[in-house]
């Protein structure tokens, strides 16, 4: 089936809000090329479980597409029309399985050497879309905080190497009550600018006391869910005919309830956490990977105003089969390796934050937990310099967001 043949009743399996939305734009969707549309439907089908920022972005994108003239529609999508697809893809149930379709499309593009053409088309579309519908500016300047090195007694190699050119390195930070001061700092922002899913705390180790105004997810708190997921995966792998692609399809079809992720009434957050574990690579076994990926996904989807990320120690590397079997309730931890992971993860957090609107006013702080080293980036702070000022984390935070 091709997009021009779309009918409203074909979306009967969509959740209610998604169905309503897609039917209201049916005439627009019918004009889109098959190489493009399922990627859009992949987002729309989850509309009911998306964060407000994502919903607004989908609304705005569809409205923008609906406002295009025939000439503009042709101009925008000509590169996508030139992508050659197989009859197998055309016959696929892409309306109800857009995620699986996009995986097959991906394989098709690679194997037919059309990936570069698609990538070019996608980049051009992204440019046009951003130009037509500029992203919303944040109501206050964004703030990112990364706390790294939990449990590390000493570390001699230089930290924050990727970030130093962008900010000021502080070497005499007073570490006392640092985690608490920083959590209180973002709680105050949540209090003064209460935006749904606007202020986040992502924890890789033991969760700290925090304000209920923060959206919180934790690697440790998800331990039962991770265990259930890994049990399911182990069982699936043993089934005849199972391979990596089949496993991915299985994971894509899991519901939050199927891994015990339905204890909280927050369906949106449950859905988000499930995707962290089913779509992320390594998020099920390494806390540092979980935290970095969760921060990336939160930034891309929820577009938070405040994000505090605290990396915890991950388990030491073991054979993948052992890690996946999850049969060691007290695994040995790799503290130094986790610090190195987190140092890079903090850099990625900053990059991902800078991809959001208002980046010119955004601030970022990374601190080596329990130690005197930190690095701060912000409009008011010098770049590529070091400061010998003595300050606690609360004071440092006030300088960062000044």
């Amino acid at each position: 089936m091709l997009p021009r043949d779309l009918k409203a009743e074909q979306f009967a399996g969509y959740p209610p809000e998604a169905r309503k939305l897609v039917i209201s734009y049916l005439a627009t969707l019918q004009q889109l090329p098959l190489s493009f549309l399922p990627s859009l439907l992949r987002e729309v089908i989850d509309y009911d479980y998306k964060f407000p920022a994502e919903r607004r972005a989908i609304d705005r994108e569809l409205a923008s597409l609906g406002s295009l003239s025939q000439t503009q529609m042709k101009e925008w999508f000509q590169p996508f029309w030139q992508i050659s697809l197989s009859s197998k893809l055309e016959e696929f149930n892409w309306v109800n399985q857009p995620t699986q379709f996009t995986e097959q499309l991906s394989a098709h593009l690679w194997s037919t050497h059309q990936l570069d053409a698609f990538r070019k088309a996608a980049t051009e579309y992204g440019d046009r879309s951003r130009s037509a519908v500029p992203p919303e500016p944040p109501v206050i300047s964004r703030l990112g905080i990364a706390i790294i090195g939990q449990g590390v007694a000493s570390y001699d190699a230089p930290l924050f190497r990727n970030l130093r050119e962008h900010g000021t390195y502080f070497e005499r930070v007073k570490p006392d009550n640092g985690v608490d001061l920083l959590l209180k700092g973002i709680a105050a922002r949540a209090q003064s600018h209460p935006v749904p899913y606007g202020h986040w705390y992502i924890e890789g180790g033991q969760i700290a006391d925090h304000s209920p105004l923060l959206t919180c997810i934790s690697y440790q708190a998800l331990a039962p869910v991770r265990a259930a997921l890994l049990r399911n995966v182990q069982a699936e792998i043993k089934r005849p005919g199972m391979g990596p692609e089949e496993l991915r399809t299985y994971l894509a079809e899991l519901s939050p309830a199927s891994v015990g992720l339905d204890k909280s009434p927050d369906a949106v957050l449950n859905h988000f956490q499930l995707k962290l574990l089913t779509e992320g690579s390594g998020t099920q076994i390494f806390s540092t990977t979980f935290v970095q990926w969760a921060a990336r996904e939160a930034l891309q989807s929820a577009q938070p105003l405040s994000l505090l990320v605290r990396f915890g120690p991950r388990q030491r590397q073991r054979p993948m089969n052992e890690l996946l079997s999850n049969n060691n309730s007290n695994p040995e931890l790799d503290f130094t390796g986790s610090l190195i992971d987190a140092d890079m993860g903090a850099y990625y957090n900053w990059i991902n934050q800078q991809r959001l609107s208002g980046s010119e006013h955004s601030s970022f702080l990374v601190w080596f937990e329990g130690h005197s080293q930190a690095l701060a980036i912000g409009p008011a702070l010098a770049r590529g310099t070091a400061s010998s000022s003595v300050a606690d984390l609360g004071e440092l935070l006030s300088w960062v967001v000044a």
Partner: protein, 405 residues
Amino acid sequence: MIFNRDTRALKSELAIGEALHPGYGSLRESARQLSCSRRDFLRAAAGVALGGTLMSASPFVRGALAAKRRKIIVVTFGGGARDQETFASDGQENIPHMLQELAPQSSFFTQVVNHGILGHYVATASLATGVYETINNFAAIPPEHPTVFEYFRKSLKRPPSDTWVVAPSNGFNHIGESDARSYGQGWGAQVILPKHLLAAAMSGSGTDYGHLLRDNYETPLYAPQLVGSEFQLEQLESILKLSAEDFRTHAKTLSSPDELSLYVVRQLMRQQAPSLLWVTMHDIDIAHAGAYSLYIEGIRRTDRLCAELWKLIQSEPEYSGNTTLFILPDFGRDSDMDAGGNGFQHHRTGDPASRTTWMMALGTGVREGVVYDRPMQSTDLVPTLGAMMGFSPTLAQGRPVEELL
């Protein structure tokens, strides 16, 4: 920005991403810049010269007699290492051996572009056939086009013992011989999977060896159990001349699967002395699990193992003075700046950083301490090996690297 997510979401194992700062038209320019950074760094750190003007008067020894004794060893990395962790200034600490010992003795090609599918098995198959293969990266199936091993054996009438592949894991057991029936059957290389050898030698006693049985997959959640068989035990005893007990004892002294591979390579060189030996390393690919420190450890270990292999070549009478060693990653990894990827973790975006890598050639017939900037393709390797060894890879798409002939 929805399409940011859409393109990113086309991931499966091989996803599509959107550049943060578009400028797609500058892909070629980006690749060139990557190569320039490698060149400049090598010139500064290793004191190598710029090639280009040194095209003529190759020192390569020609002649039928020399060709008969010539040996070639190819080392590929399944799991590319990016510039910032290797040849850029911050990365130099991770590759002291390649930088200080190997690069000054090598012809270094700064811009090897892989235009094919960026999955490790299919990319290694493409390297071995000289054609961008389109086989399923995760299926245990042979390449569709004749491999370098088949060209080598059939053209030069070499016995099966004269070419071997040492590879890391399951899918690679078919890398030795293609499915190209029209070319003829039975001309392939024999393949050794060291982890399977060890699994067979362990025969149920799983203690103390787990660290050598790590399988780093592009989909880490899918890690099937390794199984050894009687066939592997026979390989141990008849090919490598090792008892299961000897193998187990030595394996206990090693720290990673790639170290185990190098041990098998050493035995192969001593017992079989193949003329064409292909080794695929894989430790670096732990990057897919997202732990940066483990990725760095993998790079450092691979760097050390490459130097050890080079020393081994110098010390083995069958190889010393008549061997050319090629070292190249199968491709790179995603840039930090491509929103479609997640930096070092994967190679899904198809961006210049993931497509562009390097190649080092050293030993017999290779000019020492020279850097070549011009772009070459991954598929050029097989025609180059053919030109060096005296066979014609008729179905390969690449072209011989003239600087090595």
